[in-house]
């Protein structure tokens, strides 16, 4: 007889599943531990990429290890359920079936017994006629029927009870199944969305065969994000894949809908990943340079359509370009390169991505589709340099020279053409983001000192051509068209400032590049004497000249023998050394503007005062170590010469173009009813500062030109006549200062000649007299004991050397010449000295004994010393 109760479940299968999941959990733990340990086996593998990869190994290994407890939970849940099934199948159900059978048997027995009892009762009457036994039979049958009915009821009661027990068993198993399912659902690192599970089940998916059309990657993006986090390499790989998919979808859209705008959902995907480097990398690698240019066309067309989303998409695309500019990729040669490199730039043209666009259009770089997105900074230094270099190269080749100007090859810098046919809008509204864009490249060039410096070195002529107002449309100078933005001048000022002092401040090791840039600007201005910097660039030049390095460079060019006749020497200690004429051209250019002139006069005046004070403090000698100190200007004559040379230099520059300065002052004072007189008074004040720097009040030092001029204007207002009466005498005094042997570059030839003789004599025991003098920095309130100085140059060499590489890898400070016997024969030619020799030579010249000797032997030095004493 078959069992009445049964259940459909297989403990065997469940047990097999337990083994499978348990094994996966154990393997994940073992292999995860190994993976996490691998970085330790490659300790000599270093570099930031190695660090990142090792970090990811550790992360994945840790995640694998962390998986094991979940598989143990799952296995336990399955075992619990399986145990319940086994109990049911081996105990409960068989027990119920037995009871069921027993109840039937019992029922059968009861019915049989009732029948037999009835038969037994009726046995005595078996030979009697029915009509005589009807009553007995009826009574007996009733008794039997009652017994059968009782048996039936008992059976029914038993079966109902057993069925209830079975139902409870099934219910318990259902509950166990649900508990198992809940445990399984919770035994995960990250849950998938409920609707994904529903879809999978509804689609009839199995463990090894998903439903038709089901793509796990597509529907578990959020789960993957939870698992990988924002920064892991795997998370980045997911973002990369998302970018790639977006690019593929965009390409397909353009192919299918060449005349329609991209759908909003695609733009939303771009917006979501715009600042994610991995997404942008996937997007850009897949789209290619051309595909990205096609996206720019999309933005331009939205703009032209006056689409309400145009501005937002423009910002998104700007973010994408900005982010992409920082992405580096493998170069296939063991190194890396920027994704947006020169090749990328050269191919930045939408035609390849969308042949529909082709209409006789050239296939080269399209700045009009890139530069509009670069209005704000934040692009990589490398990409900024590429774009700026390309813009200035194109400007030089196709626009700067009117004889070779080629509009068609420069038109894309004049305004965007996309979406409006291929005729360019050369005079587009400058406020239109798709308007003229050349100046944007200039703006960005000023973002990085290295880029700005490179522009000055590689494109000096173009920068200076623009900076001197030769192309009014771009600089906003005289003759500028009203349709052009007046902003390139500011960009050019940034380029000059950043490319010189910005670079020095950022990285003093690159001072040589900054100095060469400053030198090349000076050289250009010298060659183009009639060219003058437009206003903001002029101010930038003043910033450069008053920067500590360039102030020292100027002073040391005048106050040491090392300035070259042309070009620039970048000395680590002395700054950029250039000829007096080169420095004069720069200073005179700066001082064409009153504010700049005021800054230069007060700053140089302060420098002169401080240098004189130093020389004064060192100007003491004594007869011996214990002798009283007496003032002796000759022992610091050279120091006084340096200060005086700068005063003379300032005087010459200030008076070089007084008419321009005065007219500019008058223009700036146009609101003043006595503009002409007031301007002359202010000019007198500046001339007075230059003549006698000690008259400069401390509160003017380091202040802006407007403040200094304003202070002078106020002073003039108190007694205009008294000030203007001083104009001519002050000018005469200043003119006197700017003449004489002190301004003759040959002064240093004389000093060097004298020095050579002195060096030779000193080595022979003759030459300068030994003296006792105080060292620079003497404090009058606490006088030190004087030190003995004999002026012997040999004590100034042999102290320093430097490894510089090249043909002469090690240089020394020995500035002396020797004969075959090793005797000193003089000093080296200054233009052959290295920087250590220059420093040592100058230290020797500043030896108090030598200074006194030069004071006696050199007329210019003596005159300077005497002037400084006045």
């Amino acid at each position: 007889m078959s069992d009445h109760f049964s259940i459909d479940a297989s403990p065997t299968d469940l047990s097999a599943a337990e083994r499978v999941l348990g094994e996966i959990g154990r393997q994940l733990s073992d292999e995860g531990g190994k993976l996490a340990g691998l970085p330790g086996q490659a300790g000599d593998w270093t570099g930031s990429t190695a660090v990142a990869l090792k970090g990811e190994m550790t992360r994945v290994g840790g995640q694998m290890t962390a998986s094991t407890p979940h598989f143990e939970t799952a296995t336990t849940a399955l075992a619990t359920f399986r145990t319940a099934v086994e109990e049911a199948t081996t105990d409960t159900i068989p027990g119920l079936n037995k009871q069921w059978g027993d109840a039937i048997t019992e029922h059968q027995n009861a019915v049989g017994a009732a029948n037999r009892a009835h038969a037994d009762r009726m046995s005595p009457y078996r030979n009697m006629p029915d009509e005589d036994t009807r009553g007995v039979r009826g009574s007996s049958a009733a008794t039997r029927d009652t017994a059968v009915t009782d048996a039936d009821e008992a059976l029914t009661t038993s079966q109902r009870s057993l069925t209830r027990e079975y139902d409870q068993c099934v219910s318990d198993l259902q509950q166990a199944a649900r508990a198992c399912g809940q445990a399984l659902a919770g035994a995960v690192l990250a849950a998938v969305p409920a609707e994904v599970v529903s879809d999978y089940l509804a689609g009839g998916g199995t463990g090894t065969r998903p439903p038709s059309g089901f793509d796990l990657d597509d529907v578990t993006t959020a789960t993957r994000q939870t698992l990988t986090g924002d920064t892991s390499i795997t998370g980045q790989a997911d973002d990369y894949a998302a970018g790639r998919r977006t690019a593929e979808q965009a390409a397909q859209w353009w192919k299918d809908h060449p005349h329609e705008r991209m759908p909003p959902d695609l733009r939303e995907e771009l917006a979501a990943g715009a600042t994610n480097p991995a997404f942008v990398q996937g997007l850009m690698v897949t789209a290619g340079s051309s595909g990205m240019a096609r996206l720019s066309v999309e933005a331009a067309r939205l703009h032209n359509d006056r689409d309400p989303d145009a501005d937002e998409f423009f910002t998104v695309l700007a973010d994408i370009y900005r982010t992409g500019s920082h992405v580096r990729v493998d170069d296939g040669e063991g190194g890396s390169r920027y994704l947006m490199d020169e090749d990328w730039l050269n191919a930045f043209n939408p035609i390849a991505a969308d042949p529909e666009l082709e209409d006789g259009e050239e296939r080269s770089y399209r700045p009009d589709l890139l530069l509009p997105f670069m209005r704000e900074p934040g692009f990589s230094e490398n990409f900024t340099g590429l774009v700026a270099d390309r813009a200035l190269s194109d400007y030089e080749k196709h626009w700067m020279n009117e004889d070779t100007r080629d509009f068609t090859k420069f038109q894309h810098y004049l305004g965007n053409c996309a979406g409006q046919g291929w005729g360019c809008v050369a005079h587009a509204d400058p406020d239109d983001p798709w308007g003229p864009n050349f100046q944007i490249a200039l703006d960005r060039a000023g973002d990085y000192p290295t880029v700005a410096n490179s522009m000055l070195l590689r494109h000096r002529d173009a920068v200076m051509y623009l900076a001197t107002g030769n192309d009014p449309p771009w600089t906003g100078g005289e003759g500028a068209g009203v349709d052009y933005p007046d902003r390139a001048g500011g960009a050019l000022a940034d380029i000059l400032r950043q490319g010189t002092i910005g670079l020095v401040d950022q990285d003093p090791r690159q001072a040589v590049n900054a100095d060469v840039a400053a030198g090349t600007v000076a050289e250009w201005l010298q060659r183009n004497g009639d060219a003058h910097l437009v206003d903001p660039v002029n101010g930038a030049l003043t910033d450069v000249l008053l920067h500590e390095r360039y102030l020292n460079g100027m002073a040391n060019s005048l106050g040491t023998p090392f300035a070259p006749d042309s070009g620039v020497i970048s000395d680590p200690a002395y700054g950029p050394l250039m000829s007096r004429d080169a420095w004069a051209r720069l200073h005179q250019e700066a001082m064409r503007d009153p504010d700049n002139a005021a800054r230069v006069v007060t700053t140089l005046g302060d420098w002169i005062n401080r240098t004189n004070a130093d020389a004064q403090s060192a100007g003491y000698s004594a007869n011996g170590p214990g002798g009283p100190l007496t003032q002796d200007p000759s022992v610091s004559a050279l120091d006084r010469f340096r200060a005086e040379a700068v005063r003379s230099f300032l005087a010459g520059n200030l008076t070089a173009d007084l008419d321009v300065l005065q007219s500019e002052l008058e223009r700036g004072l146009a609101d003043n009813e006595n503009a002409k007189e007031t301007a002359k008074g202010v000019l007198t004040t500046l001339l007075g500062y230059a003549t006698d720097p000690t008259s400069i009040k401390d509160d003017l030092i380091g202040k802006g030109g407007e403040f200094i001029i304003g202070t002078a204007v106020d002073a003039v207002a108190t007694d205009p006549q008294a000030i203007t009466d001083r104009y001519q005498p002050t000018l005469d005094a200043l003119n006197t200062l700017s003449t004489g042997p002190i301004v003759d570059p040959s002064v240093w030839d004389d000093v060097n000649t004298t020095a050579t003789t002195l060096a030779k004599d000193e080595a022979r025991g003759t030459g300068a007299d030994d003296i006792w003098a105080v060292q620079p920095g003497y404090d009058a309130g606490n006088p030190p004991r004087p030190t003995a100085y004999d002026g012997d140059p040999r004590s100034y060499v042999g102290h320093t050397s430097d490894y510089v590489g090249g043909n002469q890898p090690v240089i020394t400070d020995d500035f002396l010449e020797y004969d075959d016997a090793g005797h000193v024969t003089g000093v080296k030619e200054v233009d052959t000295m290295n920087h250590l020799q220059r420093s040592a030579y100058m230290s020797w010249l500043q030896d108090p004994a030598v200074q006194r000797y030069l004071n006696q032997a050199d007329h210019a030095v003596q005159e300077a010393r005497e002037r400084a004493g006045r």
Binding site: D8, L35, S48, E56, G181, V192, L201, R224, D330
Partner: protein, 101 residues
Amino acid sequence: MSSDPIKADYGTLGELQRQVLDLGIALDNTRQPLGRGYDQVLSGAGQFADHLSTGATAFLLAWQTALDTMSDGSSVVGNSIGKSVVDLAAVDATYSSDIVL
């Protein structure tokens, strides 16, 4: 990613790369036993399968996803070993059914 120069023993890196890539493949291949286990759970549950199928499917899909990310991570790492930048596109290791966890 940075462009710092690579410093390493390339013999060590080669072995490292082999192990990581093999692991990526093995993790990917783990989909098979995981799916088999899922089918066994449902068949073992028999008439009770409906009561645990949602949880079991959530378990299956969550672990397929997790194993995918681990495999992808291993592939990217393995394929980037020896390069100066991480190759984010290298999520596909060379597949082999012979490699298991």
